[in-house]
């Protein structure tokens, strides 16, 4: 029996055929592969806080809805016979400055007669209608510089 050949076993033979040129990984190659591995794992790790943020945002939106309801109910309860307060809120053509909530210092509220979520008034769309009293909830300025509205509640007397 002759010496076995690798003919017909391409995959295996390719390793064997080039054995003479194999010399293992160099130190530099190992370091480069480590850096690539590190970058890959970091990319995955960076993704996790986004998931956490999404979870936190769900809580924040939920809390914003309750706090907005609270403010609207207080305004309706405390308004006078002429409905001066609700009337003044309806007449606001720009939102008031934000006021930080005592219950959650990360959130702030504004009164407004115009929508920030739907700034362009569209006929037939009540969400964009001007002259409707609104409570707008956003992040407190001291907490995040993002002043986009988180939640907007329209209410009436």
């Amino acid at each position: 029996m002759g010496r076995p050949t690798n003919a017909g076993f391409g995959f295996h033979s390719s390793f064997i055929l080039h054995r003479s040129s194999l010399r293992g990984f160099s130190f530099l190659e190992i370091l480069i592969s480590l850096v690539i591995l590190l970058a890959g794992i970091l990319a995955i790790l960076i993704y996790f806080p986004n998931i956490l943020r999404a979870n936190d945002r769900a809580i924040v939106l939920s809390e914003a809805a309750l706090l907005a309801q609270r403010k609207a109910e207080e305004v309706r309860r405390d308004d006078n016979l002429a409905r001066t307060l609700i009337g003044s809120i309806r007449n606001l053509t720009a939102p008031t400055s934000p006021m930080v909530f005592v219950e959650n210092p990360n959130l702030a509220y504004r009164f407004s007669g115009v929508s920030l979520l739907h700034p362009v008034e569209t006929p037939g769309d009540p969400a964009s209608q001007r002259g409707v009293a609104r409570i707008i909830i956003q992040y407190a300025p001291g907490f995040r510089s993002d002043d986009r509205p988180l939640y907007e509640l329209r209410f009436d007397e």
Partner: protein, 311 residues
């Protein structure tokens, strides 16, 4: 076997002259770098897991608290004064516990020193710092309390003991609406299937029909239920801690129901089972709260007579 053969057998050992196997120092450096890298990854991963766990617990607890607040709100909102009834039934019982979350929330070196009553019990309200009233034009929210401490200001009810308040109320059918809702509902913290600290709702639909009351849990691990009632009959309407529509006195043109109810539900969000917490350990909680107007009261002509002219 020739030297060439040996080299072919052990390719890594080949070429020590410049390439091939690693030196011990190179191996140690690679191991050190890998260890530092893995340690960093592990630390970050553990922190992420912890944050994720905490976020998940808080989210669950908050959703439970909020669902409970919403359930109570829906019932309170439906309450109304039914003039055809000989009496109204709306009973709020105030029950304080000796302690709260054992955390000095306002950092004044005192722990749980306030009652959740809308008053500045610990006297730390400061007009320049805590008087919060948003203005719309010349009008202001809660303007009757500008310059005075009230619920909604800073440093009012910020470091409370837990309460286990109870509320029972009747929703009478509206004679003008055939088949309208008729029930007696109560909310309290109690036990459910051998578990303590469960917020329970008990509802008796169509009283007098012989139907059995329905009892069910609204939320678990509820450490505090606070209910306050906005009394429109006071010279200066404000929150009170108890309400008894049946036995209270409401001189004409008195309103037998409050104008609004403040509802606050506090749920445990810690990772250690509550019963395993030490007697002095801080208690991690989340709170959902809101204010609900009783529509039939704030739209009652007597409210216009009693309250609105003074606003």
């Amino acid at each position: 076997m020739s030297n060439d053969d040996r080299r072919r057998e052990r390719p890594h050992a080949v070429g020590r002259q410049g390439r091939g196997a690693w030196t011990l120092v190179e191996l140690l450096v690679v191991l050190a770098v890998t260890s530092v890298f893995l340690l960093g990854v592990l630390t970050a991963f553990v922190q992420i897991l912890r944050a994720s766990d905490r976020s998940e617990r808080m989210s669950q607890a908050y959703q439970n608290a909020r669902a409970a607040v919403e359930a109570i709100s829906l019932v309170v909102k439906a309450a109304r004064i039914e003039p055809t009834q000989p009496y109204q039934y709306f009973q709020g019982v105030n029950t304080a516990t000796p302690s709260g979350d054992r955390i000095d929330n306002d950092r004044d070196s005192r722990v749980d020193e306030e009652q959740p009553n809308g008053l500045d019990d610990d006297g730390d309200w400061d007009a320049t710092r805590d008087d919060h009233h948003l203005q719309a034009g010349t009008a202001s929210e809660r303007r009757q309390f500008v310059g005075r401490a009230d619920l909604g200001d800073g440093h009012v009810d910020e470091d409370n003991v837990f309460h286990r308040d109870q509320l029972s109320l009747a929703i009478f059918p509206d004679p003008a609406i055939p088949g309208s809702r008729s029930e007696i509902t109560s909310f309290s913290i109690g036990s459910w299937e051998s578990e303590n600290n469960v917020l329970l709702q008990r509802t008796l639909r169509n009283p007098g029909s012989g139907a059995a009351p329905e009892l069910g849990p609204l939320a678990y691990n509820v450490l505090s239920l606070v209910l306050l009632y906005w009394d429109p009959n006071k010279a200066e309407p404000y929150w009170v801690e108890e309400w008894d529509a049946m036995h209270g006195t409401f001189p004409s043109p008195g309103l037998q129901l409050p104008a609004a109810v403040y509802i606050s539900v506090t749920v445990y969000s810690g990772h250690v089972p509550l019963e395993q917490l030490g007697p002095a350990e801080p208690i991690e909680t989340v709170t959902a709260s809101t204010v609900v107007d009783i529509e039939s009261v704030i739209h009652d002509p007597r409210y216009d007579l009693l309250v609105r002219p003074h606003l």
